[in-house]
């Protein structure tokens, strides 16, 4: 396959940046989107040019590092996959593909397609944890949890923190991410100790980082590689109202 790539190039956080067009020849349909970028970068290195910087780590859809806005959609045209799991067979020979970084004030561009997503880390630090007992290893089935609840908590916990929800949202809102993280703990017995404080602090941190307000367009969930449901956002709203009404934090 022959592909034409229009890629965002930006030297550093201060640089204004702009698009550059690169033809990529001999692309195999079985390559992943990132492998196609590897091919491009080898071409660029051979010519002595700066390779395109992009985030990636596991390349199997579990770390959440890869983050490309491909033809107007985060992680590209396919549903429920990350960029690293997207294959070139999803495109046609001769296609022209525009690739941009996530765009949000809270995710500043570091270089090319790499953005600084540490805002998510700070949200997690503010409340996305639980207290654990010290001492011996507890028995696996010591705490009974209904299967339905366990499943829902697990579904929320599949969020890999990639930030595609923020990227897709017209308001650059982080509600889907935060709701997944609050939900996975709020539903389980282990998460009860910090439950109210968690909802309050994580919401406050989310606003602090400069993410927008949720207007319920549903773009986040539609583009989420882990298909995190909008029910979580409603749950976060409930958790937040409940916490504000009942917590001791004045």
């Amino acid at each position: 396959m022959n592909i034409t790539l229009k890629v965002w190039r930006q030297k550093n956080a201060q640089d204004k940046g702009g698009f550059k067009t690169y033809p990529v020849a001999n692309v195999s349909p079985d390559m992943s989107f990132l492998e196609m970028f590897d091919v491009l970068n080898e071409q660029l290195l051979a010519k002595g040019e700066d390779p395109v910087h992009f985030d990636h780590d596991c390349r199997e859809g579990i770390c959440g590092m890869c983050s490309m806005y491909i033809n107007g959609k985060p992680h590209g045209p396919k549903d429920a996959v990350t960029t690293c799991q997207l294959h070139m067979r999803s495109f046609k020979d001769g296609d022209s593909i525009t690739v941009e970084p996530w765009r949000a004030k809270a995710f500043p561009v570091v270089k090319d397609l790499v953005t600084d997503r540490s805002a998510f880390d700070r949200i997690i630090q503010s409340g996305g944890y639980i207290s654990i007992n010290t001492g011996g290893v507890p028995d696996a089935n010591e705490i009974p949890i209904p299967k339905k609840i366990a499943d829902q908590a697990m579904d929320a916990a599949t969020c890999i923190g990639c930030g595609a929800c923020v990227a897709a949202c017209k308001n650059a809102s982080a509600m889907l991410f935060v709701s997944a993280k609050v939900s996975q703990l709020a539903m389980l017995p282990q998460g009860q100790v910090e439950r109210k404080t968690r909802a309050e602090r994580m919401v406050a941190q989310m606003d602090e980082e400069g993410f927008g307000a949720c207007t319920n367009t549903g773009a986040c969930s539609a583009e989420c590689p882990k298909e995190i449901s909008l029910e979580n956002i409603a749950r976060l709203n409930r958790e937040f109202y409940g916490a504000k009404l009942k917590s001791e934090n004045v």
Partner: protein, 223 residues
């Protein structure tokens, strides 16, 4: 700041205010549209004029109408605040964006739709509400202010009818997202009830603007 003002000035809190005022305005629409059906009457507007008098003089309705004015004002002011926050959250936009593949057109254009509706509201209130309260209008045979006459005269103009019909189209789109969105913001999302809310939302956003739009058309034809 107290815990309450802090909660209300968070992004979720602001959206909660949008949801509450929006839902109140939806209730207002129910009242407004039911009253308006009197315009379909064949009594030369006597019942409608009596109803208009009741609506402008009854103390309980007075309180409700003040809540309505406040709701409109708060809904507009908060929409501006939230929109500004949301615009600054993405200072650099995308070159290519496929928004239509992941969300409805109405949900992405609530601000534009709301602005158009606000302009409509100003024209609408100047035309009827202002006239009823402070305008020089005659009386019908029962001695009530003849608001029906004002309405009938206005709807004899084709461009006025067109303005109303088109505006009701915008209202339909605004409601098609706003109605169910308000419930999600309140945290009411449930496997059993959300499909019902979505269905009622769709029915409401088609039916209510349709009845509103039918009145000027009906009166234009009969003029």
């Amino acid at each position: 700041m107290s815990w309450f003002t802090k909660a209300m000035s968070s992004n979720i809190g602001k959206k909660l205010i949008m949801a509450f005022t929006g839902l109140f305005l939806i209730l207002f629409l129910v009242g407004h549209v039911s009253g308006n059906t009197l315009l379909f009457g064949t009594d030369g507007g006597l019942a409608f004029n009596a109803y208009a008098k009741f609506m402008t003089t009854n103390p309980a309705v007075k309180i409700l109408s003040y809540i309505t004015y406040i709701s409109i004002l708060v809904h507009v002011v908060y929409s501006i605040i939230v929109t500004r926050t949301n615009k600054t959250a993405r200072p650099v936009g995308y070159e290519v964006n496929a928004g239509s593949t992941n969300s409805s057109w109405a949900s992405r254009n609530m601000g534009v739709l709301g602005t158009i509706l606000l302009i409509f509201l100003v024209v609408h209130m100047k035309g009827f509400w202002y006239e009823m309260h402070w305008g020089e209008i005659g009386t019908d045979i029962n001695g009530n202010k003849d608001l029906y006459g004002v309405v009938a005269k206005a709807y004899a103009e084709w461009w006025y009818v067109l303005l109303y019909v088109v505006s009701m189209g915008f209202l339909a789109f605004h409601l098609s997202h706003g109605f169910s969105s308000a419930f999600q913001t309140l945290g009411l999302n449930h496997k059993k009830y959300t499909p019902i809310i979505k269905g009622v939302s769709l029915g409401f956003s088609i039916l209510v603007p349709a009845i509103f739009a039918a009145i000027p058309i009906y009166m234009f034809i009969n003029s």
